[in-house]
């Protein structure tokens, strides 16, 4: 087998590093802003899980689409949504991606194929299956990614969506990739305490959906699986399930302060495999990243985040009349 640096373009890997650092800095900032009362509601950050969305979203085409759970900031940023508009949404400003009407859990960017973050665990899986059907119905070879957490696999929505996908896939009518972002905990309940069969990828066996697990801390591994799976799904119109085994370093949400359900040692152990650190080590080994370049990248990311915060701070709130818009469309 060729070595990794021969299989994957190093420039591309450096770009992953940039994006993952941007996501990390952005998420750290959202936690600070939340504590300062600038961001309201719930706040679920992607710190620790960056490799998963990075690898998958870089493996799809510009005209492909995706759905996400409420832990969705990274997905928007990685797809190229303006960090300023993302931060402004979190700040509840009219310049946000949803005019400040959705907040952290409902980021969206249809122009980039992002059909939204959804707030009910498992609730968006059937949407992604139907969307995938529509892509084939319309005669395209576009595909749909559906990101969701380990908690979702025990919801009825998962099983009903997977069954339909399996059925429609037999007709080549369901090009969806289910991406389980297994961060080990549904809020405070571990996979072992929530799932009778903790190998979550195997859930797909029951629905004639090919599946595999991958190391969700290693962006190269994620990307290689994603690229292969996406091309297969595009070619066959059949669904595929990938369980990316990862970890969240932050609490479930910003209110999850004490994390009585896990030990510091466990978190520390996973931090040894911090996806950004792993990638950094590889890039240094291959000589494409040194201290100077790293500093440059971090400064760039921090600059973007600062700019996003300034933009969000200075942006106006939604005007009162926005309360009443976007409830219904125009009458026929």
């Amino acid at each position: 087998m060729e070595r990794v640096e021969e299989r994957v373009d190093l420039e591309r890997m450096l770009d992953w590093y940039r994006r993952m650092v941007l996501v990390r800095r952005f998420e750290e900032q959202t936690e600070r802003s939340f504590r300062r009362g600038k961001i309201g509601g719930y706040l679920h950050v992607y710190i620790g899980q960056e490799a998963v969305a990075t690898g998958f979203l870089d493996a799809i085409r510009e005209d492909d689409i995706f759905f996400a759970s409420y832990r969705d900031h990274a997905h928007a940023l990685l797809r190229g949504t303006d960090p300023r508009a993302v931060m402004a949404e979190l700040y509840g400003k009219v310049t946000g991606v949803a005019k400040g009407k959705g907040g952290s859990m409902h980021l969206v960017d249809v122009a980039r194929g992002f059909y939204g973050g959804y707030g009910i665990v498992g609730g968006h899986l059937p949407l992604a299956v139907g969307a995938a059907y529509a892509l084939r119905y319309q005669g395209t070879d576009r595909i749909c990614l559906c990101f969701f957490g380990d908690g979702a696999v025990n919801s009825g929505a998962f099983h009903e969506a997977a069954n339909l996908a399996g059925l429609w896939g037999k007709e080549g009518m369901c090009p969806v990739v289910f991406v389980i972002e297994n961060n080990q905990y549904g809020m405070g309940t571990s996979v072992e305490r929530a799932s009778a069969v903790p190998n979550l990828a195997r859930r797909f066996d029951a629905y004639a959906i090919p599946n595999e697990r991958c190391d969700g801390m290693d962006v190269v591994a994620v990307y290689e699986v994603a690229r292969r799976v996406v091309e297969e799904v595009r070619r066959t119109g059949r669904p595929y399930g990938v369980e990316a085994v990862t970890y969240r370093f932050s609490g479930h949400g910003a209110a999850d302060l004490f994390q009585s359900y896990r030990t510091k040692e466990e978190v520390e152990r996973w931090r040894q495999r911090d996806p950004i650190l792993l990638l950094e080590q590889q890039l240094r080994e291959w000589g494409v990243l040194d201290d100077a370049r790293k500093a440059e990248i971090h400064a760039w990311a921090e600059g973007l985040v600062e700019e996003a915060v300034a933009f969000a701070e200075q942006s106006p709130e939604p005007p009162p009349e926005e309360l009443y818009t976007d409830v219904y469309g125009a009458d026929p």
């Binding site: 689409i65 946000g96 991606v97 949803a98 005019k99 400040g100 009407k101 959705g102 907040g103 409902h106 969206v108 960017d109 249809v110 059909y115 939204g116 959804y118 707030g119 009910i120 609730g123 968006h124 899986l125 059937p126 949407l127 992604a128 299956v129 139907g130 969307a131 995938a132 059907y133 529509a134 892509l135 119905y137 319309q138 009825g156 929505a157 009903e160 969506a161 069954n163 339909l164 059925l167 007709e171 009518m173 818009t325 976007d326 409830v327 219904y328 469309g329 125009a330 009458d331 026929p332």
Partner: protein, 321 residues
């Protein structure tokens, strides 16, 4: 044309007109539809456009919402509205709200249709009327046609509209006949119809109850009491202008619904009549509703559990007295 034919022919016309219209539901294809609405459509349009689904409402209604987000126009049949409850999360949390929480970027214009209500001895789990349940949620439109003409016109408007529509049919109405206008007409949402003019009392109703209200009005006419019967047709949006204009003339109102009294549609309609017409009223608004119990099976009990012509006649007499 029967109510059933009105719905079926509209599906055919819309599917012929617009290739993005497709049907999903349990046993709508090979079986031909529980109420034979979709009979023959599978062979006419093929399995990609007439999709037989497993018994999996959450899944296929959710999937239909996803299809709508991508630009298709799904029309989902629920075998009865009772079976929509496992999919309530999809309908209420996704279809109704996605336009709002995405600031207008994502929309879900789909139609979910099927029989609603009671009266054919289906007992507790299969006899519910869910109009106020769905009518509570902004982002949905809720219609309940009582006639073949309205079934056609409202279904056309629903399929061509930009919003998720809860289309409530009634099993007891599929066989009724009525005149249906020629041509490509639609019945706009939120416009009630005065189906029988009268000067003594306004009787407000919709769906199957409309027909009971009309027969009660016929009977009362023999006693010299002239009811103005209003068919709401649409519960959300709700045309209170037409109702209020009538009550201002008659000074009396009776609201008839099949569903339970507590928090039912008639409660909302009555409240709005008081808000708009308090000074015009000569008597308290009367509500004729289902009894506050799960639907029973035994025919004699079922008949007692739901409004009938007699109960409407009595209510009218009370407001006139």
């Amino acid at each position: 044309m029967t109510y059933r034919e009105a719905i079926r022919s509209t599906l055919v016309e819309e599917m012929d007109r617009d290739p993005t219209v497709l049907l999903l539901g349990e046993d709508i294809g090979i079986y031909g539809g529980t109420f034979r609405i979709t009979e023959g459509l599978l062979s006419r349009y093929g399995p990609r456009r007439v999709v037989d689904t497993p018994i999996s409402e959450l899944g296929f209604i959710g999937a239909a919402i996803g299809m709508a987000m991508l630009g298709l126009r799904p029309v989902v049949e629920v075998m009865t509205w009772n079976f929509s409850l496992p999919a309530a999360d999809q309908i209420l949390q996704n279809a109704a709200k996605v336009r709002y929480f995405t600031g207008g970027q994502v929309r879900a214009p789909l139609v979910i249709r099927g029989p609603n209500g009671a009266g054919v001895q289906l007992s507790a789990q299969h006899s519910q009327s869910l109009e106020s349940f769905y009518g509570h949620f902004p982002g949905l439109k809720v219609v309940a046609p009582a006639t073949p003409a309205d079934a056609k016109g409202l279904l056309r408007a629903a399929i061509r509209g930009e919003d998720p529509v809860i289309f409530l049919e009634h099993a007891a109405l599929y066989g009724i006949k009525g005149e249906v206008p020629d041509g490509d007409y639609t019945v706009p949402f939120g416009r009630a119809a005065v189906v029988r003019p009268g000067r003594h009392v306004t009787v407000v109703s919709y769906s199957r109850m409309l027909h009971l209200a009309l027969s009660a009005a016929q009977r009362l006419s023999g006693e010299g009491i002239e009811c103005e019967v209003i068919d709401l047709r649409s519960l959300r949006p709700l045309d209170m202008e037409t109702v209020a204009a009538s009550v201002r003339r008659t000074h009396r109102a009776v609201v008839v619904q099949e569903q339970w009294r507590l928090y039912g549609a008639a409660a909302e309609i009555s409240a709005q009549i008081y808000e708009r017409c308090f000074d015009d009223l000569d008597a308290p608004v009367e509500r004729v509703t289902g009894e506050d119990v799960p639907a029973p099976y035994a025919r004699n009990l079922e008949l007692r559990a739901f409004p009938d012509e007699e109960k409407i006649v009595e209510a009218v007499r009370r407001v006139i007295a």
